[in-house]
């Protein structure tokens, strides 16, 4: 009687453990599949965004982006100021009279590929600079004393 009771208990533990392992395995598979799908979608989006850069930006800016890693856009509000928009997502650098004056942190509320980010920054600076500056967080440059 004791032996059969023990066997039943062991079997129950085994069944529960097996179900647990199956559930964990299913969850892991789902997460992996979701992540690889997302990665694939984002890769496709990045490719489209790079093509869009070629469609919307003037040739000089496309070349600047490829060669220097940024697009420089002059300020319409502050004389002598320009903004350097990086090719990959990151802060926009502010230059005044050729000197690094700080950086701006501003991003879309939804993820977009890096190429689209370049276009977004350029459009906002050219056509809505005041709001762009109001929205962005400004960081002063770090200078070694």
């Amino acid at each position: 009687m004791v032996g059969s009771g023990l066997a039943v208990a062991v079997a129950q533990v085994g069944i529960i453990t097996g179900i647990f392992l199956i559930l964990c395995g299913s969850l892991a598979w789902w997460l992996y599949h979701r992540e690889s799908t997302l990665t694939s979608e984002r890769s496709d989006a990045e490719r489209r965004a790079q093509q869009l850069i070629g469609d919307l930006l003037p040739t000089t800016q496309v070349e600047q982006l490829a060669m220097l890693g940024f697009v420089e856009v002059k300020s319409n509000l502050v004389p002598g100021r320009s903004y350097r928009i990086p090719r990959r997502r990151g802060q926009v650098q502010v230059y005044e009279s050729g000197r690094h004056a700080g950086s701006l942190c501003i991003q879309p509320t939804r993820w977009v590929p890096d190429g689209d980010l370049v276009i977004m920054h350029k459009l906002m600076i050219e056509a809505n600079e005041a709001e762009y500056l109001r929205t962005a967080n400004f960081f002063k440059p770090y200078r070694v004393a």
Binding site: E41, R42, D44, A45, E46, R47, R48, A49, L52, L56, P58, N76, Q91, C105, I106, Q107, P108, T109, R110, W111, V112, P113, D116, I119, M120, K122, L123, M124, E126, A127, N128, Y132, T135, A136, N137
Partner: protein
């Protein structure tokens, strides 16, 4: 051809229409521009910004759909990081 670009996580979505077709009343062109206008209105209601682009000129922010524009780009709302 005129184009409306909507930037999103899937890359850009494009809607194109023939301005001459719109002027001449071509049903296909009218349907396309109507779709573009509907997308424009929906995205604006979500807080997106719209810009009209003319080659060789700075971009111009627009609040309403411009039927004469050759290129309109809609971007998601931006926030300070």
């Amino acid at each position: 051809m005129a184009t409306l670009y909507v930037l999103s996580s899937r890359g850009d979505r494009r809607v194109t229409w023939a301005p001459h077709g719109v002027q001449s009343g071509d049903p296909e062109a009218l349907a396309a521009i109507a779709e573009a206008e509907a997308i424009f209105a929906r995205e604006r209601s979500r807080g997106s910004s719209a810009f009209k682009m003319v080659p060789g000129e700075p971009a111009e922010r627009i609040e309403t759909f411009d039927r004469t524009a050759e290129e309109i780009v809609i971007i998601p709302r931006m926030a300070g990081g």
